[in-house]
């Protein structure tokens, strides 16, 4: 394991210290927690937006804390959902009297811990609503199983629900626009190499020198298929096709694209993927309204990428374009 860390057991605390040191004017860490909140929280009469999850997906989620996006991000241990008490602290810190909205990625751990936190907050008289993001089409959408995972599409939920809340929308309005994003967003990823949880010390899976995994999760969970590495064009095409097969994005639609690096993949390669994604969408008569290329939702030092498509209507376009001061998503 080659990492620039001090001690595998304190990476999260060390990281949070470094984040706050980098943005002392805009964010703060709630004492004795792993919660990052806007330094001016709570904003009175604004719905508070909270997200979070296991660490190792940076800049998700603390990088999205800022005016126009999240009010707080709760960091769990690496790849481990944060605990309810931490989420509760975040909720209490950002409640400005209009309630708090939780953006949860669809993993059992995240859902359970955030749900318990919501119950505790409601017991303290805070109105809490939530949305569960499940954009990963690599997994079947089923109510009999855990269902789809939440991956990079989550960032669009942060951005759009964040802009809505900033406009002074009610908790229900924020929830309803967040649900619209969830209904309109689909993603799929692939990996060339595994990643190593610092405290585990060894890679969570192995891929042969000529192998890639299509549809992999951001914690290294199994994908759809392992096969020989193909070209960027073939990879882009496979990811986009699977997303389009889901039927949400059709000819005539306006979409936002996110080409997301999982950690070790150079931006050069993300741009190469984007070139093909664009070409395919053009061919299909789907209009690319906006493109985001970079590392938005990573999996430690995994090499690979994900493609996300978000179908946009006028409301979503407006909200996507509104200003955001979050360090990892400046508009």
């Amino acid at each position: 394991m080659k990492k620039i860390i001090n001690d595998p057991n304190i990476v999260v605390q060390d990281m949070l210290k470094g984040m706050v040191a980098a943005n002392p004017a805009t964010i703060k860490q709630l004492p004795d927690t792993t919660v990052i909140v806007r330094s001016d929280a709570p904003t009175i009469n604004k719905v508070g937006l909270v997200s979070g999850g296991g660490s190792g997906h940076e800049p998700a989620h603390a990088g999205y804390v800022g005016k126009g996006m999240l009010d707080a991000a709760v960091a769990g241990e690496v790849f481990t959902s944060p605990t309810p008490d931490q989420v509760l602290e975040a909720i209490k810190a950002v409640d400005g009297g209009s309630g708090v909205f939780l953006v949860i990625k669809n993993y059992t751990g995240d859902v359970l811990n955030f749900e318990m936190a919501a119950e505790l907050a409601e017991a303290e008289g805070i109105k809490v609503e939530h949305v569960i993001v499940n954009d990963d089409v690599a997994v079947e959408d089923s109510s009999f199983t855990t269902g789809r995972r939440g991956i990079a599409g989550t960032i669009f939920v942060h951005k759009i629900a964040g802009a809505k809340a900033e406009q002074g929308a009610t908790l229900d309005e924020v929830k309803s626009v967040a649900e619209k994003v969830v209904a309109n967003v689909r993603s799929m990823g692939m990996a060339l190499t595994p990643c190593t949880v610092p405290a585990a010390g060894k890679p969570s899976f192995n891929l042969k020198e000529n192998e890639m995994e299509i549809g992999i999760g951001i914690h290294g969970e199994s994908g759809i298929e392992r096969k020989e590495i193909s070209t960027a064009d073939e990879i882009a095409s496979e990811l986009v096709t699977k997303i389009l097969d889901d039927g949400v994005h059709v000819r005539g639609d306006d979409v936002a694209i996110m080409i997301n690096g999982l950690g070790a993949t150079p931006e050069m390669e993300l741009n190469i993927v984007n070139s093909k994604v664009n070409e395919i969408l053009n061919e299909k008569g789907i209009h690319v309204y906006k493109t985001f290329i970079g590392e938005y939702m990573t999996a430690l030092e995994m090499a690979g990428c994900s493609v996300t498509l978000l179908k946009l209507d006028d409301e979503l376009k407006t909200l996507l374009n509104l200003s955001s001061e979050a360090p990892a998503f400046r508009v």
Binding site: E77, G109, L112, T145
Partner: protein, 206 residues
């Protein structure tokens, strides 16, 4: 046999020993059909449980169980944290005011714990989760009349081993679909250790 505060403390001390000892094994299980953190999560949680156990006074078994539950909830995270937390919280609520805890109350506590896990996790028997060990153990408690340490271990171990043959439909392992078959569920392995520890503590008391 009656189950007292010191037994409860002893129980979780042994659980912690086992978890620490098997931290890497549990993580390895989670590496195959999960995200490589189960051993780390459990070790963090139970270490914290034991750190506090020795420094506090408890009136009754329910207090120990409540302490265990709250510590797990706030220290483990992931899926297993709220699930084990809920289990011991429900257990604690079920035996509140009963001290020492007799066999039937203990059984009732475990029943409630299992119900709690099922509700919280929206899962049922046969989905390759910790329920697949909790459930047969509760069954054997119900069918027996008193603590049968060896039987508990045997049933729990067999249940854990059997999770190998199940395809996961809940939790992170569900993403591995058919590929989850052939591997023991990490949460079932730690659940086994909890019951193995219980049996050992009871055996030691005899």
């Amino acid at each position: 046999m009656e189950f007292r505060v010191e037994d409860a403390i002893h129980w979780f001390t042994v659980v912690n020993d086992k978890i620490q000892e098997n931290k890497e094994n549990l993580t390895t299980l989670d590496q195959v059909i999960g995200d490589s953190d189960h051993g780390i999560n459990m070790a963090r949680g139970f270490q914290e449980v034991v750190n506090k156990l020795s420094t506090q006074e408890y009136e009754e078994v329910a207090d120990v169980l409540n302490h265990v539950a709250m510590t797990l909830i706030s220290k483990v995270g992931g899926a297993s944290g709220p699930l084990f937390g809920t289990a011991f919280l429900k257990f604690s609520q079920a035996v509140k005011g009963i001290n020492p805890v007799d066999y039937d109350s203990f059984t009732k506590g475990l029943e409630e714990a299992l119900q709690g896990v099922k509700q919280r996790g929206k899962a049922k028997l046969g989905e390759k989760t910790m329920i697949d060990v909790w459930s047969p153990v509760v069954d054997v408690f119900q069918s027996e009349k008193g603590f049968e340490d060896n039987l508990f271990i045997e049933v729990a171990r067999e249940a854990m081993e059997n999770t190998k043959h199940i395809m996961a439909t809940k939790g992170r392992a569900a993403y591995f679909k058919e590929k989850s078959i052939g591997h023991i569920d990490p949460g079932s392995a730690s659940t086994y250790m909890i019951f193995e520890a219980l049996a050992e503590v009871i055996k030691g008391r005899k």
